[in-house]
């Protein structure tokens, strides 16, 4: 039996248990510490009323927050509006952030709560979650190192690889949007955003064991929905 297939993604989002050399882990830790230090300064400045600090914070985290919200909601327009609301909340509630833990876990908590509330609201209004991953959307999505779309396409041999890859991508986003929001959040945080368990625990307020068991159930639920696309 081969070893497991999931690894946290690159950058400061990787966990210390990644299959990386010691030097890489040190660099990641240093990068994370540097980011935390910068965040602390920005938060202090924002609390003192410095509007420029807010701008810097938004620009630092806008892609990550937008990505999280987009994967949770599945609709670009709705996600943009919601991501703006997240930062609006941050602006208003920054005084309540006491600086315990990393700033971004607090920001992600705000974002995930905002998403959950919106999902409940939309459910109440019978909003049809339109999965917003059409053929042209790829052009607006810069792929990661090596090409994320390429990595999807590479699983499908032959000249129809691109069409097949996009079909898979739409299917994942659609099935993700159909999952229970708690499950969706865990998959987005761990498998898409690549956050370490410790940070997921802080964001969700769940203990480690619960995070892992729920994550398993979430993955199994997604697997069941994706069954027709596998193999």
């Amino acid at each position: 039996m081969s070893t497991g297939g999931a690894t946290a993604k690159e950058g400061d989002r990787g966990s210390a248990s990644d299959e990386a050399g010691g030097v890489t882990i040190d660099a990641k830790t240093a990068q994370r510490m540097e980011q935390d230090r910068r965040d602390k300064i920005l938060v202090r400045r924002l609390k003192a009323g410095d509007e420029r600090a807010f701008q810097e914070l938004v620009q630092t985290y806008q892609n990550r927050v937008f990505g999280l919200v987009f994967r949770m909601i599945g609709n670009r327009q709705e996600a943009e509006d919601l991501a703006q609301d997240v930062f609006l909340t941050v602006y208003k509630a920054i005084g309540s952030y006491r600086g315990e833990g990393r700033f971004y876990t607090w920001l992600y908590r705000v974002a995930s709560n905002t998403c959950k509330n919106r999902i409940k609201y939309l459910k109440g209004r019978h909003f049809n979650t339109r999965v917003d991953v059409d053929d042209n959307t790829e052009a607006q999505m810069p792929s990661r190192e090596g090409g994320a779309l390429h990595s999807l396409q590479s699983q499908v041999p032959g000249p129809e690889a691109m069409i097949q890859g996009q079909r898979l991508q739409r299917a994942i986003q659609r099935e993700l949007a159909n999952l229970d929001e708690e499950h969706r959040l865990l998959i987005v945080l761990r498998d898409i955003e690549g956050l370490p368990y410790a940070d997921i625990m802080r964001i969700t307020g769940l203990p480690a064991g619960t995070v892992k068991s729920r994550l398993h159930r979430a993955r199994v639920a997604l697997k069941e929905r994706m069954k027709s696309y596998l193999r």
Binding site: M1, T3, I172, S213
Partner: protein, 166 residues
């Protein structure tokens, strides 16, 4: 008891797939399910799903994202009755505006404080004006000057004398 065992198995499965186990634990886990084709298949399917999910491309916020956030904040402040701060005004625009305001105020103050400075600008014109008045009245220019008025070519009070004979 059964529930906790299920949870434990799920936790193990997650830890295994996420490489959160050390080599010894991984080997023990693999040995546990070595003779269970269902579990092997389950793990294989889960790996495939994870691979697909992790292959999703990153999405980027639109380029004008911050401007939209700032607009929302400004609107919210207006609704709350607060005076909006200059959150959307860029530093450069604000700097230019400040410089222009200072320049305008300085100019206005300077002109109001010293009206005689207008004469200093063109003393020739001032002399011509005085002489013109005297001619109209048919009097010699020197005598036509009212008391306290500066002599032609003389410096106005509080200013330096003209440098040339004009």
């Amino acid at each position: 008891m059964a529930q906790s065992e299920t949870n434990s198995a799920e936790e193990l499965m997650t830890a295994y797939l996420d490489h959160e186990m050390d080599a010894e634990e991984s080997e023990a886990f693999e040995a546990m399910f070595a003779d269970s084709p269902e579990t092997q298949e389950e793990l294989s399917d889960l790996r495939q799903v994870l691979q697909l999910v992790q292959g999703l491309p990153e999405v980027e916020a639109p380029p004008d994202f911050f401007e939209k956030v700032a607009k929302k904040i400004r609107r919210r402040k207006l609704l709350d009755g607060e005076i909006p701060l200059f959150i959307t005004v860029s530093f450069q625009v604000l700097s230019v505006m400040v410089v222009l305001v200072i320049a305008a105020v300085y100019t206005m103050i300077h002109l109001d404080r010293d009206p005689a400075a207008k004469l200093e600008k063109d003393p020739k014109a001032a002399v011509a004006e005085v002489e013109g008045d005297a001619e109209i009245r048919g009097e010699p220019g020197d005598e036509a000057l009212p008391e306290g008025s500066p002599a032609p070519g003389a410096a106005p009070p509080g200013s330096s004398p003209p440098s040339s004979a004009d």
